[in-house]
């Protein structure tokens, strides 16, 4: 009954033709939904907001590590004189802090070779992480190749793939020389032409269209500029 009275009030200014048309029950003049419907929508919206206020932070918390890049880390692995240009020396250093031995990784380090068109003042540090699925490869001196024990991946002296299932050359580490010490920095991946790109996980192609199919992750460091 109250509805009826309100409707009368609201309809006072309407023309006779409009007044003659009966409104559906429960509607006010000129309104598109009933009170009941308006309250249903409002309470559902409030429930949605309350749910989102809980779910969104939780999801954000869970996926945040994808967008977080850790501190750049450099570690000295030996004197410059310790390394030569025609063979590698194996060094072990910490790539991930806080997890003890599990955070250590192995690199094969040498000086840049003039014969291969590299800068002799630069150091080359090749990661032992196979580009197939991440097994540890080993540099075999007699063959001059890196060989993976898991699925038979073979890489040449520079780390380019020459056999087996790997999809790209071996990763490398940034190098620099400080106070006569060789220091190794963040990991980066290379294309088949040894051009540096952001670090990719094993099994992911690099270069060309693959840069879009396996996009660079925000958690990795930019590659060194110029080689």
């Amino acid at each position: 009954m109250a509805d009826e009275a309100n409707k009368q009030n609201g309809a006072e200014g309407a023309s006779p033709a409009e007044r003659a048309k009966p409104d559906p029950p429960g509607y006010f003049e000129g309104e598109s939904m009933t009170r009941r419907h308006a309250f249903t929508v409002a309470s559902q919206a409030l429930g949605g907001i309350a749910g989102a206020a809980i779910v969104l932070p939780a999801v954000g918390f869970a996926v945040a590590p994808i967008f977080h890049r850790g501190k750049e880390r450099w570690e000295a692995v030996g004197r410059v004189d310790d390394f030569v240009e025609d063979t590698y020396r194996q060094v072990v250093f910490t790539e991930t802090e806080g997890i003890g031995d599990a955070g250590k990784t192995t690199a094969y380090v040498r000086r840049g070779s003039k014969q291969l068109g590299e800068d002799p003042k630069q150091m080359v540090a090749v990661s032992n992480r196979c580009a197939h699925l991440g097994c540890p490869v080993r540099f075999v001196e007699a063959a001059g190749n890196f060989i993976c024990p898991c699925h038979g991946g073979v890489y040449d002296f520079q780390g380019k793939r020459i056999g087996g299932p790997p999809v790209r050359p071996l990763d490398q580490f940034q190098t620099r020389i400080r106070n006569g010490q060789v220091e190794l920095g963040p990991r980066y991946s290379v294309t088949s032409q040894l051009e540096p790109v952001r670090a990719r996980d094993p099994g992911e192609f690099t270069g060309g269209i693959w840069e879009y199919l396996y996009p660079p992750r925000p958690s990795t460091f930019p590659p060194p500029s110029g080689s």
């Binding site: 699925l133 097994c135 396996y214 992750r217």
Partner: protein, 287 residues
Amino acid sequence: MKLDSLIPAPLRKPAKPGEGNGAKGPAPADLKTSPPERPSDAQRLGERAKDAPADVLAWLDQRTAASGFLTGMLFRKVPKGTNWFYTLGSATLFAFIVQATTGVFLAMFYTPSTTQAYASIAHINNDVFLGAFVHGMHKWGSSVMVILIFLHMGRTFFFGAYKYPRELNWVIGVVLLILTMTMAFTGYLLPFDQRSFWASVVGININGTGPVLGPYLSDFLRAGPELGATTLSRFYAIHMLLIPGAIIALIGAHLYLVVKLGTTAPPWLRADRPKVASPTSPLEGGE
């Protein structure tokens, strides 16, 4: 009434007033031949004690109305030809219960920290009373569960039990299979020895080879660009909190649909068809 004789007394529907003989008390015929002796207090107490379990169940049933559901579930009809192959689903459920139980007790000793995980597993295996046994049950039981799931899946497939109207239950079963494989994957890292570490590295890298989203999935699983300090606790949380809850909920839905829809007869039993009017029907074969 015929069904009633199969049902344990406390689960039976109580007789309506004025119906039946009330189930208790001597029959009226006895009354005539020999007047009953008045039972002593001790006897009466004994009688009442005997009824106590039934009374408790009746009290529960009156408040939950569970007996209707339980009789429907426990005394449902199964088709002719039901055989041992039909127990593979229950066997899988049993394997899951073993995993859940042993897992809870292992969690009481396990430390999901990269520096202490291996030592805590060694402690379980070497020092804790029956620790190696419980750990072994969990470790080998996981393989048993995966094998049983595949046998159960094969039974469902070869018996045609995935067909209408049971497609949804097949879909739920496949989701349960995927969740179980995720359990196996995340559980493998927890001992944190060389084998589990490198197996997880390879597994995460296989996940990463999916185009476009793969690299981000790897980062999500590792909680960073490299396997790090939080990877283990992340796997542990997924292994013992996230997925078991989902598995329990889906097993509930799976069982509900089994009870609701019933099971199928094995395919080698032909359905009893009424004789069809047309003798030329190709379906009738040589006859």
